[in-house]
C-alpha cells in the first residue's frame, strides 16, 4: 500500500520503492487505520491540513474526519481524552506537535496512562501511541528542539521508541500501534527528510540515497526492544538512537574508526543482550545522545554497561551529549553534539 499525497509522493528509484521518514510514518498510520477501525488519530493541525510536518497528510480525506481530526491546543486534553478513548476500546494515536509541548500532558501520561493497567489489575488499559517530533538541529530554539526521552524512560509502564530510518519508522510505528501498552514514539525531526550526519555546513543527502529508505509496501513489524547493528566493528561499541546514529556513523567513517554502532531503536524496553554482547566483544563503549547530559538516558546506559560489563571494559564508558543548557537558537551548532565532540571522545576512549 502506498500513500500518495501531493506533498509527499514516494520516490521510486529502480525497482526499489524508497520513502523518506515522513512518508514511512504516514504509510504506517494509513495501514493501521485501514486494518483496524479502532485506530484513530488526533492532534493539533493533523486533520484537514495533515500536520505541520505532513505526517498525517491525506489521512482525514481517506479515513474520515471522525477518525482523523484536529484538537484544541491542549496537550493535557489530548492525552486525557486518548486515555478515555483507550478505556472505551479504541486505539488512539495522538500527535503532540513538538515534544517540547508534551509537558502539559505529563500527568495524564505518567499518573494515568502508564499505571492504568496496573492500578486496575488489567480491567482497563491505555493502548496509546503518542507520536511527537523531537530533537534539534532545525533552528527551533529552546521550545522546538528538546529531547525529553529520559523523562519517559523513567516512568514505569511507558515504552519509549525512537526510529532512525524510514524502514524502522514504519515497522516500529506499526508495532507501537498494535502494542497494548502506552508508547511514546519520538520522531527525530532533523532526519525526517534525510539522514543528517552532524556536518551542518554540508548539504544533507536525501533519504532516497540511503540504504534504509527502501520501505516494503504493506504491513511489517519491527519488534520493540530489539536493537539494530548499524555497523559491525571491533574498536568500540557506540550506543545511539535517532539522529545521533547517523552522526556517529559519519564521524567513524571520517576518522576510519571501525566501531560497532548499535541503534537502540527502543530505550524502554532496552535490548540489553545486544548491548552486553557488543561491549563484551569490543571492551569499549561510547554513548551518544542529543539530550542534555545530567540524568540523561546515557547515564542509565553507562550504569548498565558498567554494572554488567565491567570486567570486559578496557576504558571508562564515555558519554557525548548535549550541554546542560536550554537549546540555544543562534548557537545551535555550538550546542549540538556533533563531529568534534564525538571525535574527541573517540580519541579519548581509543587511546585509553
Amino acid at each position: 500500500m502506498s500513500t500518495k499525497t501531493k506533498d509527499n509522493a514516494p520516490a521510486e528509484v529502480g525497482s526499489e520503492r524508497r520513502l523518506n521518514m515522513i512518508e514511512a510514518i504516514n504509510e504506517a498510520l494509513d495501514i493501521k487505520m485501514s486494518e483496524d477501525p479502532d485506530v484513530i488519530i488526533m492532534g493539533e493541525d493533523v486533520g484537514y491540513f495533515g500536520g505541520v510536518f505532513r505526517a498525517t497528510a491525506g489521512l482525514q480525506e481517506k479515513h474520515g474526519k471522525t477518525r482523523v481530526f484536529d484538537t484544541p491546543i491542549s496537550e493535557c486534553g489530548i492525552i486525557g481524552v486518548a486515555v478515555g478513548m483507550g478505556a472505551y476500546g479504541l486505539r488512539p494515536v495522538p500527535e503532540i506537535q513538538f515534544a517540547d509541548y508534551i509537558y502539559p500532558g505529563l500527568d495524564q501520561l505518567i499518573s494515568e496512562a502508564a499505571r492504568l493497567r496496573y492500578r486496575s489489575a488489567t480491567e482497563y488499559i491505555a493502548p496509546l501511541t503518542v507520536r511527537s517530533p523531537f530533537g534539534g538541529g532545525i533552528f527551533g530554539g529552546q521550545t522546538h528542539s528538546q529531547s525529553p526521552e529520559a523523562i519517559f524512560a523513567h516512568v514505569a509502564g511507558l515504552k519509549t521508541v525512537i526510529p532512525a530510518t524510514p524502514y524502522d519508522a514504519k515497522g516500529l510505528l506499526i508495532s507501537c500501534i498494535e502494542d497494548n501498552d502506552p508508547v511514546i514514539f519520538f520522531e527525530p525531526k532533523r532526519i525526517y527528510n534525510g539522514p543528517f550526519t552532524g556536518y551542518y555546513d554540508k548539504p544533507v543527502e536525501p533519504w532516497k540515497k540511503h540504504r534504509d529508505s527502501v520501505v516494503p509496501e504493506g504491513h511489517y513489524k519491527i519488534p520493540l526492544g530489539k536493537a539494530r547493528v548499524v555497523t559491525e566493528g571491533d574498536a568500540l561499541t557506540i550506543l545511539a538512537y535517532g539522529t545521533m546514529v547517523h552522526v556517529a556513523e559519519a564521524v567513524c567513517a571520517a576518522k576510519g574508526v571501525e566501531a560497532e554502532i548499535l541503534d537502540l531503536r527502543t530505550i524502554v524496553p532496552l535490548d540489553i543482550e545486544a548491548i552486553e554482547a557488543s561491549v563484551e566483544k569490543t571492551g569499549r563503549c561510547l554513548i551518544v545522545h542529543e539530550a542534555t547530559r545530567t540524568s540523561g538516558f546515557g547515564a542509565e546506559l553507562s550504569a548498565l554497561v558498567t554494572e554488567r560489563c565491567f570486567y570486559h571494559l578496557e576504558a571508562p564508558v564515555e558519554r557525548v551529549t548535549g550541554f546542560d543548557t536550554p537549546y540555544p537558537h543562534s548557537l545551535e551548532w555550538a550546542y549540538f553534539p556533533g563531529p568534534v565532540r564525538i571525535g574527541e571522545a573517540l580519541d579519548k576512549i581509543l587511546e585509553a
Partner: protein
Amino acid sequence: MAEGPKGPAKGGGNKPTLSLHVPEPTYRPGDPVDFAHINVPEAGAQARPDEACEAIETSDLCYDLIRVLGDDNKAHGPWDPKLDADTLRTMLRHFAMVRAFDERMFRGQRQGKTSFYMKCTGEEATSISAAMALASDDMVFPSYRQQGVLIARGYPLIEMINQIYSNKGDKLKGRQLPIMYSSREHSFFSISGNLATQTPQAVGWAMASAIKGDSRIAATWVGEGSTAEGDFHSACTFATVYNAPVILNVINNQWAISSFSGFAGAERTTFAARALGYGLAGLRVDGNDPLAVYAAEKWAADRARANGGPTLIEHFTYRAEGHSTSDDPTGYRSAQEREEWPLGDPVMRLVKHLTELGEWDDERQEALDKECMEEVKAVTKEAEKNGILGHGLHHPFRTMFQDVYEELPWHLEEQAAQAKRERQIKWPGEEPWS
C-alpha cells in the same frame, strides 16, 4: 547586569497601592454559624427548559438552585421527576446502605484493619440519585467519594471491602489505596487518586462512544476544589468542541480538605456558571435534594443521549464529615456548620418525603437501617476471612511486578528475582511467591 525588583516599590506619588486578596472562610472553629447569606430559593420555583434547548437557555439555572423537595416534604414544580414509591424506596435503601457501609469501614480503619477510608456523609444523593438517573451501562468516571454509584449499581459489598482491606480477595491485587475501586463490569472506571484527571478521560470515552455510533454516554464526578486543575478546563473545552455525550458533575461540598470553596473561585461566581464560558449547558442543583439531583442528572442524560451535547451540573452540598480518616476538620472549620447547613440531610429529606406520601414510616426506617447494618457486618466478617491490611493475607509477591507492562520485560524480571531473594530472608518459610 540587569537589576531585578528590589523590595517593595515606593509607589509613584499618588498612585494607588495594590493589595492581595486571600480568601478566608466565613467561620472558623468555635465560631457561631449563620448561613443566612446562602440563598435557598423555594422548591419548585425553577423553570425547566427542554432538554434540546440551546446551552445559553440554561444561564439562569447556573445561578439559581434547582429544588424539588420543599419544607413541606412534598415534591414541587417542573423538575419533579415523578418517581414512583418503589423507586424512591430503592433509593432510600441505597442511602441507608452507603451510610451503614461508611460507618463500618470508618470504624474498621480506626481499628487498624486498613490504612484509609473516606465517607460520603451528606453527599449520598449526589452519587446515588445521579447514578439512578443514568443507564446501568453508561460509563462512570468517578472521583473518590462516589461509593454510592457502586452501591446503586449493585456492586457486591464484599468486593468493596476486599479492596479496602487490600487482602487476597482484592480484585485490584492490593495495589490501590483503599476506596480507589474499579469495576469494568459495572461501567465504573478505575479511580485514580490524582484529581480531575478523570474529567478529560470521561470526555474521551464519550467521544469514542460517539465515534462508534454507540448509545451509551459518560458521566464524571469532580470536587469543586479540583475544578481548578487544568484537566477540568481541558475536559470542558473538549466536551464543548466535540459536543460530547458527557455529564460533568461538580460536587461542591464546600471544602477541599481544609481549603474552602473560595480557593476554587466560589467567592466570585458559581461552579455551574463555569459552563457558560464554554457554551456547555449548566445546571445548579440542591445536592441534598435527592429528587432534584435525579431530575437534573436525567435531564443531562437525556440531552446527551439525543446528541444534544454535554452538561455541567453543580451539586451544591456539604461535606458533613472530615475529608478522610486522615483528616480532622475541627482544626479548621466550625463544628456548627454541619448542624446549620440550610439544605438539610439528603437521607432525612427522602425519609420525610416518603413518609409524607404515606409510603414509609419510622418503624420501617429503623428496620431498614438495622438490616443494612447487619448485612454490612456480615459481609465484613466474610471479607475478613480474606485478610486485613498488613496481616499477610495479601496477593502473592510476584503480583508486584505483573501488569506494569502486558509482558514482563527483562529489567522487571531481574528486580522480581531480587524481591524473591529478599522474601526468603525476611519471611523464611512464609509468604507465597506465586
